[in-house]
């Protein structure tokens, strides 16, 4: 799968409280969650996300709460992938489980600038900064996680497994 788009860049320790503040967690409606995504960090996010669909973060992206509303609100905002130096573990699980591709690359995170155009090749583990022409390799995900992602998320993966065992 190839994802080609422009970048919105953020810093280190982007936490789940700024991704989707808890005051909006009294709903599971994805469109409503998306309407508040990143509002405490970047009031222009909604505008930016209309034309730029890849987020690049720094270290420990998604730290804090277990709220799956965080990756859901990002996905529902139209974001197609996140690249960061590292991800907080629950956010990482939640993104895999809900089918939002994450890529870990210290080099890519440092190199890519806000608004750069980037092409991600998920199958071959490559991130190319089209603006600068530089390509970064990303280590492949463990087999099990690849299976979950290719099934369209953990719920769909489990549904298939249960159907098989019947």
């Amino acid at each position: 799968m190839i994802i080609k788009d422009k970048v919105i860049k953020y810093g280190n320790n982007v936490d789940t409280d700024v991704i989707i503040p808890a005051r909006y967690l009294n709903t599971t409606d994805e469109a409503e969650l998306a309407s508040h995504c990143f509002e405490d960090l970047d009031s222009d996010f909604k505008e930016k996300a209309k034309e730029r669909k890849i987020i690049v973060g720094g270290e420990n992206f998604g730290c804090g709460s277990s709220r799956e509303h965080a990756p859901l609100s990002i996905k529902a905002s139209g974001i197609k992938a996140i690249i960061a130096k590292s991800f907080a573990r629950i956010f990482y699980r939640n993104s895999i489980n809900t089918g939002l591709p994450l890529l870990v690359s210290i080099e890519a995170s440092e190199h890519i600038k806000d608004s750069d155009e980037v092409e991600i090749d998920l199958d071959n583990g490559e991130i190319k900064d089209i603006t600068t022409g530089i390509t970064f390799k990303v280590p492949p995900l463990p087999d099990f996680i690849q299976k979950v992602i290719s099934s369209g998320g953990y719920m769909k993966f489990t549904k298939k497994q249960l159907a098989k065992s019947k």
């Binding site: 009294n26 270290e59 420990n60 277990s66 709220r67 799956e68 629950i90 939640n94 953990y154």
Partner: protein, 425 residues
């Protein structure tokens, strides 16, 4: 296969046992059976939606699912009421016995141990990041998402990556008023908010063996603030006594083997650890409370899954006794469970709080996550015994939260600024 000789950490052993293996490698992904699946009024509605999509029909075991509507309860608005109704209806349909309505509830991570629902050696998942709290009981316990909970409710199993372990060895006696909260803030300050990312944090040494269970819960609770997967303690006589008080015996006790591989061992001397405060906007911004200078406050919160237990309330009451909070200080005390609330009432603590000018709330997560019961306005500043001080955590994005233990919070309420107990008593 393990020939019985390959040493393992507590985390490895519990994950191995729960996935039918004798040995698991760090970094290996296992599909493990879970003992408890927990969710709350924020995460469970999403989990229930996903559970229904899986099409499993019934939950794998109606005694192993725990639902605690605690975040926005008593229902703060119509939307929250609708969310809670989803839990209540599902619990009814599925005969889930461990659904706790507000009259018998409390903040989930104080409630589950209090009810004896978590045993040492258990593998526990919860759709709440502070599920790591039960590590104080020697359980491998961690926060996950709603889809994880949906899958675990359907199958009784979940995928886990086996973590490496960071060992924290605490020596030396604690200074007056210093509790587990100070030790964990100090530790997070030392290693950073991602210092234990994906790792199991194992807390050991003579100083932690001397800590009360309440202080241990407080430490394990904040393992996630260093990015940790587990925050685990060895099972000692105090844990066993705690479990006996809940009528629980016969659980399996896991210990890290003497030759187990720890990624790193931190030796921490507690004799020099002062009362700690984490300044905005990261829990790792730990400083000595007494070095902070004049920081005026608008609100004080004593409560939460981190510090709403008896030890915390008793410590606060010692400081509030016969004193008044500063004139304009909004001081909110939130006992973590109904049982703690009742005990605090019987012991006369509530009277001390109210006479001092505090308000006492029913158990709720409330202000900790900016939900309700004490939201900050633009430019306001609070000190709280809670666990996070991210931007906008307790209200307006231009407000500030400082984190501390109960002694500094209570002293600060009286002083009207960040203070240590010695300044007010």
């Amino acid at each position: 296969m393990n020939d019985g000789k390959k040493p393992q950490t507590m985390a490895q052993k519990i994950l191995a046992d729960h996935s039918g293996k004798e040995f698991v490698e760090e970094g290996e992904i296992v599909n493990a059976s879970v003992d408890i699946v927990l969710g709350n009024d924020i995460t469970m509605p999403l989990a229930i939606e996903e559970f229904k999509k899986i099409g499993a029909g019934k939950v794998f075991d109606n005694t192993k699912i725990v639902m605690v509507p605690d975040h926005f309860t008593p229902n703060k608005d119509i939307k929250s009421a609708q969310q809670c109704k989803i839990l209540r209806d599902f619990a009814g349909e599925q005969d889930i016995i461990n659904y706790f309505e507000i009259g018998e509830m409390g903040i989930e991570h104080a409630l589950l141990p209090e009810k004896g629902l978590v045993l040492p050696g258990d593998l526990v998942i919860g759709a709440d990041s502070h599920t790591c709290t039960y590590g104080a009981l020697g359980a491998a316990s961690t926060g996950v998402g709603s889809t994880d909970v949906a899958v675990a409710m359907a199958t009784g199993k979940l995928w886990f990556m086996v973590p490496s372990t960071l060992k924290f060895d605490y020596k030396g006696s604690l200074k007056k008023w210093v509790t587990g909260k100070d030790l964990i803030l100090y530790t997070i300050g030392m290693i950073g908010v991602d210092g234990a990312l994906y790792r199991s944090m194992e807390f050991s040494g003579p100083s932690v063996r001397g800590l009360s269970m309440d202080s241990r819960f407080s430490m394990a609770n904040m393992a996630i603030e260093a990015g940790g997967k587990f925050g685990i303690f060895e099972v000692d006589e105090k844990v066993e006594e705690y479990m006996r008080s809940k009528g629980k015996t016969g659980y399996k006790i896991y210990k890290s083997d003497s030759g187990a591989s720890f990624e790193k061992v931190f030796n921490i001397d507690c004799t020099d650890i002062e009362l700690q405060v984490a300044t905005p906007h990261l829990p790792s911004n730990a400083r000595n409370a007494m070095d902070l200078g004049e920081i005026k406050l608008d609100q004080v919160v004593i409560g939460s899954c981190t510090n709403g237990r008896m030890e915390d309330l008793e410590m606060a009451a010692k400081i509030f006794k016969g004193k008044k909070v500063s004139k304009s200080m909004r001081t909110i005390i939130i006992p973590a469970t109904q049982k703690i609330y009742l005990e605090a009432m019987k012991k006369g603590l509530l009277e001390i709080f109210i006479n001092a000018g505090c308000v006492v709330s029913t158990p709720t997560c409330g202000p900790c996550l900016g939900g309700h019961m004490g939201i900050l306005a633009e430019g306001e500043r609070a000190i709280a015994t809670t666990n996070r001080n991210f931007v906008g955590r307790m209200g307006h994005p231009e407000s500030e939260v400082y984190l501390s233990g109960p002694a500094v919070a209570a002293a600060s309420a009286i002083a009207g600024r960040i203070a240590v107990p010695g300044e007010v008593i």
